[in-house]
Amino acid sequence: MNTLTTLFRVLPRRSASLNFTRHKSNSRRHTKLLQLPPHPSFLLTEASPTGTHIIRNPPSAAPSVYSTPSLFLPKDDPRRVETEPLAQGQSLPPPLKTPYVKKYHLEQKDFDEIRALRTGDPNLWTRAKLAAKFETSQFFIGMVCEASPERKAEMQTRLANIKGRWGQRKIGARLERKRRRAGWGGADGL
């Protein structure tokens, strides 16, 4: 995506409409649409079972929050079903981020080194560099050693300068994004 198109994409990226409701422009079309042909499982064929049987036809819909997953049910709840282990060829869907196993390999002397490096030359030894060197996360480096107040103040000033150069569109876009993200926890009503 080149810069030109990025410049002109002023509106934030819309997500698809999350209300899957059907509407037709007139009631005749709507009622006609409701006359669906029967599902194949309802039709009798030679392969259909002849004795009493159960047809499982789960709805093609997202699960509701009112149906509690089995793991969350208390032990004495009769609806609890133990999860079966995965079958031979089955696998779970791909994870968003490869789950990592936490390593507790750092010791006190490593912490002292981290602090010394960071306070010594904060421009060179940033959180990212230290995280790469000690094979840990930036978050952990931040927990081990905070930057000095002067460094923080300098970074705040730099950020304020950058934000001061923003135009109205960028400010608006950022504000909208902030509000949109705040709504993801439930405030957006979806």
């Binding site: 209300n19 899957f20 409701t21 059907r22 007139n26 009631s27 709507h30 009622t31 409701l34 789960p58 709805p59 093609s60 819909a61 997202a62 699960p63 509701s64 439930g186 405030a187």
Partner: protein, 137 residues
């Protein structure tokens, strides 16, 4: 704070629990001079007491409206009013009009296009193309 709550107000579902009749008041107006009120006067004398007794939840008032046609005005809980002019109708027809006003909800008359109107979600949920058997092209 990990969790906050949003403010809301519960919505009424008249009839799910208690049923509240939407017609709260009926005003009957008649005229002593004009002949169009003949049926209305007969209704007021013979039919209205029984109707009022069987519908105690409606406040009924009777008053003259001189030199005007007889009317029935119904006031509803949603604040709207419905007026029916009952000139030259006989008492049975006026009773029918009264019952019509009593049975009404006060909403505007509108054409119902959709077969079902409900606040509750369907039992099967809203269809999503991402769930269920995947459609193979």
């Amino acid at each position: 704070m990990p969790i906050t709550a949003l403010r809301a107000v519960s919505k009424a579902q008249n009839g799910v629990g208690a049923f509240v009749l939407q017609c709260k008041r009926l005003d009957f107006h008649y005229c002593d001079w004009a002949g169009a009120s003949k049926g209305m006067k007969s209704f007021l004398t013979h039919k209205l007491p029984e109707f009022a007794k069987s519908n105690p939840q409606i406040e009924i008032t009777v008053s003259p409206r001189p030199h005007q046609h007889p009317i029935i005005r119904g006031t509803y809980i949603n604040g709207r009013e419905k007026v029916i002019c009952v000139r030259k109708l006989d008492h049975q027809q006026i009773l029918q009009k009264t019952e019509l006003l009593r049975n009404s909800s006060g909403q505007r008359l509108r054409r119902i296009t959709k077969p079902v109107k409900s606040m509750n979600e369907g039992v099967r949920g809203i269809f999503s193309p991402f769930h269920g058997p995947k459609h193979v092209i």
